[in-house]
């Protein structure tokens, strides 16, 4: 029934727009092809895009890299999911990246990428992303465009209000969506209320290497923590989290979590809590969570299980945590570039609520509270309210900024982007996206200094936007030019998986740091070889280690005998190219894993467990050269009890 209403409204809005659109065309007179819109997104062959956009892949578990304004897909970066294209999660070196306290988890639901910042401005060092399902935070290098680190978040479930960073990348923050028993225990579900906890986790980031370490976990009341953003400028040192289900319902949340007129935005003075724990505060709790780090020098990941986490009870740090009443299950929790306004998008509301940081401080100073929730003071809605945007839309979700005093909010139910003015709350423009928009992204739009030329709206629905491809369509994204007074829809393009959020930056910030090759003389892989002359094979019982070289256009060795059924054969392949964009691949017949793609100067390992006697080929999977098709080899597999000696050769 609901769907029908939505469909009808969409249809009506669509029809209205069509009519309006025709009218505009009539006035314009030159037609779409005569307009300058196509030129605005056309990036001629050999030219480059102005900006990078990193779109979350949602249930693909990965991150996709696009160019703006062309909407061209440059790369899919594997983060939480195995990725046969590169062998991520399949190669021996990268399997540890997906280790968790639940064992090897080959998938996750990647939601909210956020680029590292210095002084509140994007610095282009790393991009962080959260795994929603099995709570994890990943750090991806913007030099190699590879996932370098994944840390599991204990005491969390549905890691949704993540992975947002403070303005000097001091912390990447991970808030739980689902409250759970902390520590986990066998207990009746209906005893949720007052017993389950919502952990907000502050993960410290080492500034030199980016390495992550949980500094503390704040064990909040058992609400659902939805999204979050850091304070910036004057509000730096605070973090704001939207909550819903302050009712603490544990069933049919669709109804039961919508009972309260207002939920909260939790304002957390993390500097105060940091000081508390630095002075020995907090309680160490037994835990079990994985910390996986990829070392660029050894080209290998290691996984370490950590056994302890420092927890903080909100009651132990008075004056650090307050609740700001915010209508109707707020989703987006966004802070304007100056750090004054905290914007709550009540997703069941028509209006957007804007809180004032200054007013919040004044109310705290005056101790004007409207009761408390589990001992945490609740401020008066009217005392902290800066204004309310009478949007005329329905279902506000998420807001970003252009740095020119404007905010842009998506509306899911009314399928539109609404531009409004900070300070006056006046709506100045609105554009239909037609297809149920979720998040939007302005490059740098959640920093002190937005690069506000384009806006990307990420729609949840595609339907007839492209040529049909069966029941499931890739989601549609739309690029708007926001440089003028009115937004202008330029283009739409398909995305991969389900983008929940995105981050973007000017190309100059990132492109010059992009790595071209790994230097062979810096390759410290224990099974790497410095040149093809070192190629060899070693047997240790049933384990066979093949130290193999690949360079255009052959493997060394390429004829191997003496392998037996039941062996575990490890191909350690070093790519001896020192030439940008010349990877080699490797695949072996009947291998229960994916190919591996080895970058120049890199060593990767692929496991093969031969089960059948015979002579079996392997080959390079990447069209590396004119003689790529000649890049192959054979392995003779003998019976388990064979006496054939191990031997190997090339062109003998």
């Amino acid at each position: 029934m609901k769907t029908n209403i939505f469909l009808k409204s969409t249809l009506i809005i669509g029809l209205i727009t069509l009519i309006v659109g025709c009218g505009q065309n009539g006035n314009n007179g030159s037609g779409a092809l005569g307009s300058s819109i196509a030129e605005k997104v056309y990036v001629a062959p050999g030219e480059r895009d102005e900006q990078y956009a990193f779109l979350s892949g949602g249930y693909s578990g990965n991150l996709t890299v696009y160019g703006l304004p062309s909407g061209r897909l440059f790369k899919e970066i594997p983060v939480f999911s195995q990725f046969p294209t590169s062998g991520y999660g399949y190669s021996e070196e990268t399997k540890p990246m997906l280790n968790t306290s639940f064992g090897f988890i080959p998938w996750d639901d990647l939601h909210h990428p956020d680029i590292s910042q210095t002084n509140g401005e994007l610095d282009g060092r790393w991009i962080f992303a959260n795994g929603n399902n099995t709570p994890r935070i990943a750090r991806i290098s913007l030099t190699t465009f590879e996932t370098e680190e994944i840390i599991e978040v204990p005491n969390s479930a549905g890691n949704h209000s993540s992975s947002f960073i403070t303005e000097n990348t001091e912390y990447v923050v991970a808030g739980t969506r689902f409250a759970v028993p902390v520590p986990q225990q066998d207990m009746p579900i209906n005893e949720y209320k007052a017993n389950f906890k919502g952990a907000l986790t502050f993960i410290a980031v080492d500034q030199e290497h980016g390495h992550m370490d949980i500094k503390f976990q704040l064990l909040m009341p058992g609400f659902n923590y939805d999204l979050s953003h850091p304070g910036r400028g004057k509000s730096h040192g605070w973090f704001f989290f939207s909550t819903y289900n302050t009712e603490e319902a544990n069933t049919l949340l669709e109804v039961n979590a919508s009972q309260n007129d207002k939920d909260f935005i939790a304002a957390i003075n993390w500097k105060k809590i940091e000081e508390f724990v630095n002075n020995g505060g907090g309680t160490k709790m037994a835990a079990n969570y994985a910390h996986n780090v990829y070392d660029e020098s050894t080209h290998m990941a290691t996984s370490t299980m950590k056994k302890e986490v420092l927890t903080v009870n909100p009651m132990d740090v008075p004056g650090a945590i307050y609740f700001l009443p915010t209508p109707k299950s707020p989703h987006g929790c966004d802070v304007d570039p100056n750090g004054e306004y905290i914007i709550g998008a009540g997703k069941l509301s028509a209006n957007i609520t804007v809180h004032s940081f200054d007013k919040m401080l004044a109310a705290i100073e005056a101790e004007k509270f409207d009761g408390d929730a589990y001992g945490i003071p609740i401020l008066n809605y009217d005392d902290v309210l800066a204004g309310s945007v009478q949007s005329g839309g329905l279902g506000p979700l998420h807001t970003e900024f252009d740095g020119r005093g404007n905010a842009y909010t998506t509306f899911f139910i009314s399928s539109e982007v609404v531009k409004w003015k900070l300070d006056t709350w006046e709506v100045v423009d609105r554009k239909p996206t037609y297809y149920s928009v979720g998040h939007l992204m302005i490059p740098g739009g959640n920093s002190r200094k937005p690069h506000g030329k384009y806006l990307v709206a990420m729609n949840k629905i595609t339907k007839d936007r492209y040529l049909p491809t069966g029941p499931e369509m890739e989601h549609s994204a739309q690029i708007y030019d926001i440089s003028g007074e009115k937004m202008e829809l330029l283009y739409d393009f398909p995305t991969h998986g389900e983008p929940h959020y995105a981050a973007g930056a000017d190309a100059e910030l990132i492109m010059n740091n992009s790595k071209k090759i790994y230097r062979l003389d810096e390759n410290n892989h224990p099974y790497g070889i410095k040149n093809p002359g070192e190629a060899r094979i070693e047997r240790k019982g049933k384990e066979v280690h093949i130290y193999m070289s690949s360079i255009r256009s052959h493997f060394t060795p390429d004829n191997i005998e003496g392998i037996k059924v039941g062996d575990k054969v490890y191909f350690h392949i070093t790519n001896h190219e020192q030439d940008f964009d010349v990877p080699h691949g490797f695949a072996m017949i009947g291998q229960g894993t994916s190919e591996i793609l080895i970058m120049p100067g890199q060593t990767k390992t692929s496991l093969w467990e031969p089960k059948q006697v015979g002579v079996w080929p392997f080959y390079c999977t990447d069209f590396c050269s004119a003689l790529h098709q000649e890049m192959q080899g054979y392995i003779r597999v003998s019976p388990a009890n064979s006496n054939i000696e191990l031997s190997w050769s090339l062109d003998e």
Binding site: S30, L33, K516
Partner: protein, 188 residues
């Protein structure tokens, strides 16, 4: 697919026409700009991190200035930066000087670009043949397949390796293959 391409072409044509109607500078100017920014494809990639490729090695080698000039005149730079791999037998300047008088000047004329390209291409073998592999060619009696389709004989005399009668005096590895410096031009 063909229909789609035709449609795209038609649309692009329309677009260009439309642009030239509305734009003062016209579409020709902008498409020239696009071309000039990357005039040589892979040959113009700025990369000071990778090992130098065959073209870059040749350009940086003073004794091969004639060869480089000939490559540029024949407009085959792309071949020497291609993923290859290629083995290039690179005659030194003196080798070109030793050609009959007027030969080089004649080949460098624009109308003889094709002939020049053929002669230069006869100096390149697909594949990466370092000196050890070349010796094996001689020992195993394998002939070297050149990019023009010719087969050249590899011989060893007193420790010197020659290809098509031209003696190799030095070898320089490159990111996309290898260069063997030779003392004479390999003519058919």
């Amino acid at each position: 697919m063909k229909t789609f391409k035709l449609l795209t072409a038609a649309l692009l044509t329309l677009l260009v026409c439309a642009c030239s109607n509305t734009s003062q500078t016209g579409s020709d100017a902008s498409s020239n700009d696009a071309q000039s920014s990357h005039p040589q494809g892979q040959a113009s990639v700025v990369d000071d991190v990778s090992d130098p490729n065959i073209l870059q090695v040749a350009i940086s080698s003073e004794p091969h200035s004639t060869l480089v000039a000939a490559v540029q005149a024949a407009q085959i730079e792309h071949v020497l930066v291609n993923a290859g791999p290629l083995t290039v037998f690179a005659p030194v300047n003196e080798a070109f000087d030793a050609l009959p008088e007027g030969t080089l000047e004649n080949l460098l004329k624009p109308e003889n670009k094709g002939d020049l390209a053929t002669i230069l291409t006869r100096h390149a073998a697909p594949g990466s043949y370092d000196i050890e592999v070349l010796k094996r060619e001689a020992q195993k009696g394998r002939k070297l397949y050149m990019a023009t389709g010719d087969y050249l004989e590899v011989t060893i005399e007193g420790g010197n390796v020659s290809v098509g009668g031209a003696r190799i005096v030095a070898s320089v590895p490159a990111s996309n293959g290898i260069i063997h410096v030779i003392e004479q031009v390999i003519l058919p």
